[in-house]
Symmetry: C2
Subunit: 502 residues, 2 copies
């Protein structure tokens, strides 16, 4: 392998820049890196998701393959959330993917809401044909079991969750992670003795969803309630966690539904209470899906590739040796030693490949969004230092080798905070106060989210959608209405956030 002979500075030493990297490139199609900038948002997203190894189109229309890098981020999200729900008394289970048609029909609103997107398996049996839906969501099949399992107040609360695949046979254009016919999710399903407990549970999960988005994904969110129109089919109240993407479209990061007794009545989930009376249980259901991965890509990615929050990065730190023939052995050894030490506390990889240049490696790890790169070359070794490069800011600094562990922790922590802070600033600057309909239209036109007031009427809600293609994403739980509805001018009931949506 040819090596550069006379490095004069770090940039040259590392063989940085796309040209240098390309000179050793093993695979032509990947040397190009991203060909589209983030300013060309939709194309940039599609290219990045595929090139960074997050996901790929499947050979079935509307479906995706979640590739290892994407799946590892999903696993990090699962680990965090799974631990949190277990700590709050929930347990996992698994219910069949097949849902008899008659179950879906038991709750009328629910059936109406989901049937247009259902994929069916038809079985021809002795008693004629029977149709099974591939679960678009599992309320009905799970609550059939609950009606058998729940007998007494001692069986409550029942707090179950499942991690599974979901099928919604949509006809709209496919977008990896954001709109596919099959995706992965978690769905929690709980049953309680009282309305208050169910409401408390729905809010507890809403809080966990916010915490997941903000502390793990570094995606700031707004939380509130959905309007009746946007509510989950069959729910009493739907709470939502909404983020705003850089293209001005809102993305739902998770929803938590207070189902009231809307399912326990048709499914006859009855318990004998302490007072020995038979009562219907109060229920919640809640879920988030692999679309969270899309939110991470869009919120943090840049023209070089992904930028991953350290909390969920499959590899948090990559150590890259700067190799020259004369010092190769020592540098490789030192790189390995740094990585070994760090691996007690971090997810680390030492990229010791000798058939690609350091510059090639830099590009590749940047494309994959690895939070911290540690470079170590012969000059660094002389100075007993390594060079830290942060993925989000590109900031470089020399760190004494003996301090690498402490400094790595500090840098990753700082990066996690700073990514959230940056995204928060963008969110805040993307919310426009709209006191009138023209202001609302203008905000949506400028790819912003409009904060406005609403009378609560369906006609005004429909008018917003018809005229702006935006919808009420949530009703604020914090702000009280004090003015007039931006559409009809009548006294307002709610402060709402309006945006186009994914």
């Amino acid at each position: 392998m040819p090596q550069e002979k006379k490095p004069t500075g770090r940039e040259k030493e590392a063989g940085k820049g796309r040209e240098a990297a390309a000179s050793k490139a093993p695979r032509k199609e990947e040397t190009q890196g991203l060909t589209v900038k983030k300013s060309n948002f939709s194309d940039w997203y599609n290219e990045l998701v595929q090139k960074a190894g997050m996901a790929d189109y499947a050979p079935i229309a509307g479906c995706m393959v979640i590739k290892p890098h994407g799946y590892a981020i999903w696993e990090a999200i699962q680990r965090w959330f799974d631990a949190r729900i277990k700590a709050t008394g929930h347990r996992n289970a698994y219910f069949p993917m097949f849902i008899p048609e008659k179950f879906l029909k038991k709750e009328a609103e629910h059936f109406k809401g989901f049937t247009p997107e259902v994929a069916w398996v038809v079985e021809e049996g002795g008693q004629g044909k029977e149709r099974f839906a591939l679960r678009p969501t599992s309320e009905t099949i799970i609550y059939d079991s609950y009606s058998k399992w729940i007998r007494s107040w001692r069986d409550l609360p029942m707090l179950l969750n499942q991690w599974c695949n979901i099928v919604r046979w949509e006809m709209k254009a496919t977008r990896l992670f954001l709109r596919t016919r099959e995706f992965l999710w978690q769905e929690g399903h709980t049953a309680h003795a009282t309305e208050e407990e169910a409401e408390k549970e729905a809010k507890l999960i809403l809080g966990l969803y916010r915490e997941l988005a903000e502390t793990q994904l570094a995606v700031p969110v707004l939380t509130g309630e959905k309007s009746e129109k946007e509510r989950f089919a069959g729910a009493l109240r739907t709470y939502t966690v909404e983020a705003l993407m850089p293209d001005g479209r809102a993305l739902q990061m998770g929803t938590s539904h207070n189902l009231g007794q809307n399912f326990s009545r048709p499914f006859n989930i009855v318990f004998s209470d302490r007072d020995e009376k038979e009562k219907f249980v109060w229920q919640t259901s809640w879920g988030f899906s692999t679309r969270l991965l899309g939110a991470v890509v869009m919120t943090h990615g840049d023209d070089k590739g992904l930028v991953l929050p350290p909390s969920i990065a499959p590899v948090q730190i990559v150590v890259v040796p700067i190799i020259f023939e004369g010092s190769k052995k020592e540098v490789l050894k030192e790189a390995k030693s740094i990585a070994d030490k760090l691996s007690d506390n971090f997810r680390v990889e030492a990229d010791l490949r000798e058939d690609v240049s350091a510059g090639w490696k830099f590009n590749e790890w940047e494309l994959k969004g690895t939070p911290l790169r540690i470079e170590i070359g012969p000059k660094d070794m002389e100075k007993k230092q390594a060079v830290f490069v942060r993925r989000d800011s590109g900031e470089k600094k020399a760190v004494r080798i003996q301090d690498t562990e402490r400094e790595a922790g500090a840098v990753l922590q700082e990066m996690q905070k700073s990514m959230l802070a940056k995204a928060k600033r963008l969110l805040q600057s993307s919310i426009a106060d709209a006191k009138s309909f023209p202001e609302l239209e203008k905000a949506i036109g400028q790819k912003k989210m409009a904060k406005t007031e609403w009378c609560g009427g369906r006609a005004c809600e429909d008018a917003i959608q018809d005229r702006t293609a935006a919808t009420i994403r949530l009703i604020s739980g914090e702000d009280k209405a004090s003015g007039r509805c931006a559409v009809c001018g009548k006294p307002a009931e709610h402060v709402v956030y309006v945006a186009r949506q994914y």
Copy 2:
């Protein structure tokens, strides 16, 4: 709640025995415990799986619900295996559940092997109807992606795994965990540059499967190769891990296939090697499923319920306070304190319920198979001790409270070893050497596994199945044939194990 007033011994103190427990029973249907003994094997299994909270029948024929207790055991299995495959360079991904019919048809043997059990989703589109199979296994959909992703030797080996649901629309009678139309599994799919590497991978996984069965599930196994007749549809060689259940039927605990180039040719998975020649990759696939949970139930369960190996028990230790009015507060506090201390190193629960008796709790935790019960009552507190009760042997001993952590570790370790040893003895005593066909028939009739010799001919293999309903479960990799085929009397090629199977 009425409390017993004058305890004279531990048995009475604890309110033990089903009658005592029943007197406080909150749920009638559960107080009965098991109504069937293990000697009535099939009914015992069905009742135990449901009563212990492992699984339930679903309202769709042929499907099951995996309940929290069963799912938690599956999670323990996943944790162990996932860590092992990651440590050996494998990564997880997720491929669509829908497989186009034309993919399944590409490998003729594979198609023939799986189509009878496939459930189809039919889509009516612009170009007529298209049928998608719900994955009965994912070779074809995954290898389509591999043909796009693999270009060069640098992309190899490709070592992926997925955890997912599988559909095989069987018409035979449903048995929870053992035969259901939907189940969960892991499937690994690897691609290599050479035949040797693929063979090495298939064997590596076979070794991990054996280790999983023996060190985690405490289920001793035999390993070897499948005959051509029993081989995976499309494989060059199938390696198998087989256990023998107490009813004399063999249960496949996992299979690892060397696929050779049988899939890379029809799917055109080609790489450019170091010598710049284009070559087809060599592949393996391997999997185990939730039927492992059935093996655990059958191997270890007894007339009182499940007996779980400590390695995979969702709760390894339960601390049960023996409550009397006078000393209630202190005893509850001590029980909690013991559990808290143990929870640093074990999965522990303190059962502090006051509305059921200690005897009721004993029965319930025994039914669920919890390995170690620690009882603490007022008399124990006086003596600064707790009473340890092992689930497998029923053995009791007093342990000084200050020694509980050390002793708990020792007891669990001993129990894990002893459960495997016991199962090994049963396996060994259930293998009969059969030199002739009458001996083979006799062994199968006695619900044993026959170790016999075979000429390698299909006619003799078919004859065994026709006349005994047993099949060749595996060809021994250790023993060399030295005698004659038990069926035709010609010189034998292989030492084989023959049994009826699940």
